[in-house]
């Protein structure tokens, strides 16, 4: 990579060990992808739950945080993805004390490094969305695909170590979706059916993700009949990223870089037709047993409007199995103020804040609580939880709430 004077000085250790380590890591990644140079970034978003870090990762964070000499803190706004627990409710999940202690240590180290603990995967709805052309270093695949596609910002998937490095150096290697040539469409999708429910939007995203199939594929989608809401595109993109590792898509006439098919160079691409049958086939793959052990709304965290819709469905019900709804620390106070939390919890549900279900030791809490058959409206989550020993079922929010009442999906 071509380094400027400041980067050369950082790599030589002139600004301390913390930025030196960060830049050395970034150079290794940049060289792998043949990046020519660095691009300045304005924000970083760090995924750093302790199920992923483990003891080794937390010790590494602590070793960085203990450095006293040189520049020891992030130099741009640097925020966090969800934690592995809600510190006020971990006993309800039957999480072990060691898990919570590991989380506390990770938080302490990140705070020492100047990181703002926003603990959210919907920062584009709750903290500060990136703008068209803005270069950022975001973790969480759902955050990246939304920011790239809906906002027109520019980010690669930045894993925790790399996003933290970007926060510490204020830059990231210029490769992938920072470059115009990687933002052109490579897969053309023609849909003849526009979803209505969030689980259908997620399932459509999953189908398109499977067609794309790898990180460098950029789907362009024709035929969506109305401008989707932010929550619909949240589920659509999160599932596409989860099923296909996709980081950028375009919706013709809707997303900012594709007013016309020709804007993303897609006129000559052969179209893949996707309709309701393909979406239903994906949902059928997660149909499973009618009996349900637990209902979970998470991945991504719920917006205020999703909690409002959930509260409406909870009124007058009494749940017989756990119903868990997960939101961000920014949304939770409003959910409390508007009475949504109280209405959900009056029915027997629980609203968690600042965590994500699948990042919260999902395998261990399944074993501790006897959960196997899990119902959710998140296509992203059903894709993930198979690897954690669950038999996940994808259904609408209404059907999931009904299952929480009866213990069965109809």
């Amino acid at each position: 990579m071509r380094l400027n004077d400041e980067e050369t000085a950082i790599l030589a250790g002139d600004m301390g060990e913390v930025p030196r380590q960060a830049l050395a890591h970034q150079v290794a990644v940049g060289d792998f992808f043949s990046a020519e140079d660095f691009v300045p970034v304005t924000q970083a978003h760090v995924m750093a739950d302790t199920e992923s870090l483990g003891e080794a990762g937390v010790r590494w964070l602590e070793s960085l945080a203990e450095v006293k000499e040189g520049r020891c803190a992030v130099r741009i706004p640097t925020i966090t993805d969800p934690r592995g627990t809600d510190f006020t409710k971990y006993r309800q999940l039957k999480q072990a004390e060691w898990m919570v202690e590991l989380e506390r240590r990770a938080v302490a180290a990140l705070v020492k490094l100047g990181v703002s603990m926003t603990d959210t995967c919907i920062n584009y709805q709750t903290v500060l969305s990136a703008t068209r052309g803005e270069h950022v270093a975001f973790g969480d695949t759902g955050v990246v695909i939304y920011s790239n596609s809906v906002c027109g910002a520019r980010s690669n998937f930045e894993g925790g170590p790399s996003a933290l490095a970007a926060g510490l150096t204020g830059r990231t290697p210029r490769y992938g979706f920072h470059l115009d040539r990687h933002r052109r469409a490579s897969v053309r999708i023609r849909v003849d059916w526009t979803p209505a429910s969030l689980n259908d939007w997620g399932a459509l995203g999953g189908v398109i993700g499977r067609i794309g199939g790898n990180y460098w594929a950029v789907p362009v989608v024709e035929g969506i009949e109305r401008p989707p809401t932010s929550d619909e595109l949240k589920h659509f993109g999160a599932a596409m990223a989860s099923f296909g590792s996709i980081a950028l898509y375009h919706l013709v006439g809707i997303t900012p870089e594709a007013a016309r098919l020709s804007d993303v160079g897609a006129e000559a691409l052969p179209p893949h037709r996707v309709g309701r049958a393909e979406v239903q086939a994906l949902q059928n793959a997660y149909a499973g047993d009618a009996k349900v052990d637990v209902v979970v709304f998470s991945a991504p965290q719920l917006s205020l409007f999703e909690l409002r819709a959930l509260a409406d469905l909870c009124d007058g019900r009494r749940f017989t199995i756990p119903l868990l709804a997960v939101t961000s620390p920014q949304v939770k106070p409003d959910s409390d103020r508007f009475g949504y939390t109280a209405r959900i919890e009056a029915a027997g549900g629980t609203v968690f804040s600042g965590m994500c279900f699948y990042q919260s030791y999902a395998r261990e809490i399944a074993e501790a609580n006897g959960w196997k058959r899990l119902a959710t409206n998140s296509a992203k989550m059903v894709n993930i939880l198979g690897g954690y020993g669950y038999a996940p079922v994808l259904a609408s929010m209404e059907e999931c709430v009904g299952a929480a009442e009866t213990g069965r999906l109809r």
């Binding site: 792998f32 995924m47 080794a56 894993g159 170590p161 980081a247």
Partner: protein
């Protein structure tokens, strides 16, 4: 096949040799693995039930979430880690994770590497030369 060499476009890490474990499937540390026990746990994965520890994983592409970037480092700390990765295409997360976890990686070939390498073959990965060589 001894001595045959495949050339990659992207490489990192140090030279290693070992037994290849091959599938035309993806890879995600969070989605696909029982990381504590060291085997592929997602039932739908083509390597479900097989141990990846100490083997050279030859797969189609990297999938899924950003967690793998931390997880490879954590897996290395417990010795439950593949010896190297070889992909047809790779996403930034696996490259970042391999850099952080100090695991050799090759990616980008002129042929489908999952067809070119039989499972169980002994191969050498040389990132400096960007080569996979059959032993």
């Amino acid at each position: 096949m001894n001595g045959k060499v495949l050339l990659a476009r992207h490489a990192m890490g140090t030279k290693v040799s070992g037994e290849a474990l091959v599938a035309k499937d993806g890879f995600s540390a969070r989605y696909d693995l029982d990381r504590l026990a060291g085997f592929f746990s997602r039932p739908a994965h083509k390597l479900a039930g097989q141990s990846y520890v100490g083997r050279i994983l030859v797969l189609d592409t990297a999938k899924g979430g950003v967690a793998s970037a931390w997880m490879l480092y954590e897996m290395r700390s417990r010795g439950k880690v593949p010896l190297a990765f070889v992909f047809n295409s790779v996403n930034p997360i696996l490259a970042q994770g391999a850099a952080f976890g100090d695991i050799a990686m090759l990616a980008g070939f002129d042929e489908d590497v999952t067809s070119a390498v039989p499972s169980g073959a002994r191969v050498e990965i040389d990132p400096a030369a960007k080569t996979l060589r059959f032993l």
